[in-house]
């Protein structure tokens, strides 16, 4: 298991991406899977950076576990910010016309559709978001 702790600030997104790419550099993944994983990681990290610590800043811990044959990655995002379950919101209505479409909810929706498994827990003051994605 690999672990990475960083301040939940928007400007750290690139470092988070580098951490993920570093883990996967030894493995063969499709471009599509890598792009989708990048997207999932971004949406989760940006959510935490934007909302978890409104008064100040805080840390986010990212744990990763790789399984082979078939290749998959399990990522756990842990923060001690405001209690918040990103999975609890309703999906945006995708059938609305352009005038009615709102800007919110897209990030979570993309995450849910690009992972094979995702779950949320709150324990000891920690938001814990765990996801698994197949990488073939």
């Amino acid at each position: 298991m690999q672990e990475f702790v960083i301040e939940a600030q928007l400007e750290n997104l690139e470092k988070v991406n580098e951490f993920i790419q570093g883990i996967l550099s030894d493995f063969q993944c499709s471009n599509r899977a890598l792009m989708q994983l990048d997207l999932v990681v971004e949406e989760i990290f940006v959510n935490i950076a934007s909302y978890a610590y409104p008064e100040s800043t805080g840390l986010v811990k990212i744990q990763s576990e790789i399984k082979k044959d078939p290749l998959s990655i399990t990522l756990t995002f842990i923060d001690t910010g405001l209690k918040y379950n990103p999975l609890a919101n309703e999906d945006p209505d995708l059938t609305l016309s352009i005038e009615e479409r709102q800007v919110g909810g897209l990030g979570i929706y993309l995450i849910k559709n690009m992972v094979d498994n995702i779950s949320y827990d709150y324990s000891d003051g920690q938001n814990i978001l765990t996801l698994t994605k197949n990488l073939n």
Binding site: L39, E42, T95
Partner: protein, 99 residues
């Protein structure tokens, strides 16, 4: 992320190069706010756009809403990966994607 603009009277073409993510999308938003006055035709060229996240989608949504009132917007040369994200979020329903 790099933006290349080309204006011809009321036609504005914007080429977005690289990644449109939470860090770079505000830059595109700023460019659009500064450039869209009086534009009747907005064309995005995504041939060198490698990646789009929800922050980028939001900028596109706002641009489309605005252009619907003042003219036309279309997007050309969209890669398969970016198209998949647009499709998944229902954006294909209201964006004008030129094949």
């Amino acid at each position: 992320m790099e933006i290349k603009k080309n204006q011809n009277n009321d036609l504005l073409t914007i080429e977005v190069i690289g990644r449109l993510d939470a860090a770079t999308a505000p830059h595109l938003e700023k460019e659009l706010n500064a450039s869209l006055n009086g534009i009747k035709e907005l064309v995005f060229d995504f041939s060198q756009l490698e990646y789009i996240a929800s922050a980028g989608l939001r900028v596109l949504l706002v641009a489309q809403k605005r252009m619907k009132k003042q003219g036309n917007m279309k997007i050309k040369n969209v890669s398969e990966e970016v198209k998949e994200v647009l499709d998944m979020t229902g954006f294909m329903n209201f964006l004008n994607i030129e094949e």
